[in-house]
């Protein structure tokens, strides 16, 4: 009788361990598709690079292109603007970074125009900083290199990965 009970217990233990393991593994492999379907789809990822023709942009002008759904600024800075930006001492910056590290050619500034505070789009105006940007949402001020000068935003405007395909064409992404 006791041997019979013992057998039963062993058999039932096996059933528990087996079905428990199968259930845990099953939940894990089933959960992943449900989680991953939320990630950017193939169609969304396919739009991940953007090419910009620089030829029509005049000195002092800035255009906005969409890269991965984000407004990205391509700005042709004048020599005076470059000089002015590079004169700002690092000590004045919240997120210190030299302008030279942020551009590939001094003339061309390429940054994502989304405030690093909470994602609003700053405006190019002279209210906060001459030649810079002001985010109207919470008052963050950026310079003509997209570096944060004051306000709640913690970081400089991000520089997207880009390369010069030729002198008048860049590929972002």
């Amino acid at each position: 009788m006791s041997a019979q009970q013992h057998d039963d217990a062993t058999r039932r233990d096996f059933l528990y361990v087996f079905s428990g393991t199968a259930a845990a593994a099953g939940v894990a492999v089933t959960a992943w598709p449900f989680i991953d379907q939320m990630n950017p789809s193939a169609a969304t990822q396919a739009l991940a690079t953007t090419e910009v023709d620089l030829a029509p942009i005049q000195p002092g002008q800035q255009i906005t292109v969409m890269w991965q759904g984000k407004p990205t600024w391509v700005r042709r800075r004048t020599p005076e603007e470059v000089e002015q930006v590079r004169a700002i001492p690092n000590a004045k910056l919240k997120d210190p970074q030299a302008d030279q590290e942020r551009v590939q050619k001094a003339e061309w500034l390429v940054v994502i125009g989304i405030c690093t505070h909470l994602g609003c789009i700053p405006n190019r105006d002279n209210v906060g900083q001459p030649g810079g940007y002001l985010c109207a949402c919470h008052g963050s001020v950026y310079d003509a290199s997209g570096r944060i000068l004051s306000g709640p935003a913690p970081l400089n405007l991000p520089v997207p990965p880009y390369k010069f395909v030729s002198d008048t064409l860049i590929s972002i992404g």
């Binding site: 991965q68 609003c120 949402c137």
Partner: protein, 447 residues
């Protein structure tokens, strides 16, 4: 206080047959009709019923609106206009749903403040309170998701601000997962629509647990002392159901007045401008009911140690909600009702006013100067501004829970509590002993 034994007697063959198989009528009788309720509940105690009414209104109008709405970023804005102009009574259904959210929050705020005033979160009602805070949290999520659906400027940029808040805590991979892309776009709208449809039913589920917990421990009441017997209670039906019908009628009149005469009272003009990812509205404001939390977020414009202002703001805002969960353990006073707590009474009403000020401040542009003391180099006014006001408000919000609640229990001398609910009621009526006691006894026998 929970009804230990059932008072239900099936009246005919059919109900006897059903009662032996599925005692649903017994359940309804014990919980909705004969449920013993303290006899001194005032109108502040009717908001639970009003909230249930609000949830039903939102679910019914929401299901109908979903039959006409198109959750696609190219079509959503126009489909809302189509509902407003072409769908039969679409304007009415949308205005009810839109303002229903505001009225839902008016009721939930009264309900929560009522709980804070009468100490309804204290032993043995901690779980009841926690479930309530959970409902409040899901309500805020549902309201936010619904706000994004018309795909207006406010929808898009509100979604941007809130999802970036979560990104500040959990990183870019998380926000991209949440968005289904690299920015708030069509995939975001579609999943937000799906979740906006789901969450009200989650609220309904938690509400069932909330009412279960309530009916297990029984109602608190304005004296904060437990009923000592049948002389302290009356059956829910008809004593409080009559009160519910009356306040729901009043509530609906106020609701209808807004829907018909000022449907955009709580709204914002940018909600009627189609979403444009290239242009941020000059001033992004949340709906009024989230204003206080938004004000607390913006109040953090400084860094503390390794926490930068952005993360600090997010933590402050989430902390303001999270702290509600532990209120039962922060309040050290054994006396429940603010009626018998002279110092807490003042602190509580300052808290209410403070919350109203924060809610207002959250809707104002961050830098608006309230008291001008000078001008800066560019000639703009400087001085005491909305951010400063929000900082003071945030400080009191947290001090109320972290400092005032624990310390008052130790230092405050409460007033004498009445011996029983019945005695408190009679004292209020001028001590006429015999008649009210008899009147209270009679209805019991009528059940």
């Amino acid at each position: 206080m929970a009804s230990g034994h059932s008072t239900y007697t099936p009246s005919n063959g059919l109900t006897r047959w059903l009662d032996a198989r599925l005692p649903i009528l017994r359940f309804a009788n014990d919980n909705l009709l004969s449920f013993p309720t303290p006899k001194n509940l005032n109108y502040a105690y009717t908001f639970g019923a009003i909230l249930f009414y609000c949830l039903v209104v939102q679910i019914v109008t929401g299901i109908v609106l979903a039959m006409h709405f198109v959750p696609n970023s190219a079509l959503a804005f126009n489909s809302v206009e189509y509902i407003m102009r072409d769908v039969n009574y679409g304007w009415l259904l949308r205005y009810i749903h839109m303002n229903g959210a505001s009225f839902f929050f008016i009721a939930v705020y009264v309900h929560i403040f009522r709980g804070l005033y009468y100490g309804s979160y204290k032993d043995p009602r901690e779980v009841l309170w926690i479930l309530g805070v959970l409902i409040f949290l899901v309500m805020m999520a549902t309201a936010f998701l619904g706000y994004t659906l018309p795909w207006s400027q406010m929808s898009l940029w509100g979604a941007n601000v809130i999802t970036n808040l979560l990104g500040a805590l959990l990183g870019t991979d998380f926000t991209q997962w949440l968005w289904g892309g690299y920015s708030v776009d069509n995939p975001t709208l579609q999943r937000f629509f799906s979740l906006h449809y789901l969450l009200p039913f989650v609220i309904l589920g938690i509400s069932v647990l909330h009412v279960w917990a309530l009916h297990h421990v029984g109602n608190n009441n304005p004296t904060g002392i437990d009923p000592k017997g049948p002389q302290d209670t009356v059956p829910l039906m008809p004593y409080y159901t009559a009160k519910y019908y009356f306040v729901i009628a009043l509530f609906t009149i106020a609701f209808a007045a807004v829907v018909f005469y000022a449907p955009n009272l709580f709204g914002h003009v940018d909600h009627y401008v189609e979403a444009d990812p290239l242009k941020t509205p000059a001033h992004i404001a949340p709906e009024w009911y989230l204003g206080a939390f938004y004000a607390m977020l913006r109040a953090m414009d400084f860094n503390i140690l390794f926490l930068d202002s952005k993360l600090l703001g997010v933590l402050t805002m989430l902390g303001a909600i999270a702290i509600l969960f532990i209120v039962p353990w922060l309040d050290t006073s054994k006396v429940r009702s603010a009626r018998y707590r002279p110092v807490y009474w003042w602190c509580f009403w300052i808290f209410v006013v403070n919350y109203a000020i924060l809610s207002w401040a959250g809707l104002q542009p961050a830098g608006s100067v309230l008291l001008q003391t000078g001008v800066d180099a560019d000639g703009a006014a400087t001085g005491f501004n909305i951010t400063h006001l929000s900082q003071i408000g945030t400080a009191y919000y947290f001090a109320f829970f972290i400092i005032i609640m624990p310390l008052l229990g130790l230092f405050e001398t409460p007033r004498a509590l009445p011996e029983s609910i019945a005695k408190a009621v009679l004292a209020k009526k001028g001590g006429a002993a015999g008649a009210p006691a008899g009147a209270a006894a009679a209805p019991e026998s009528r059940v």
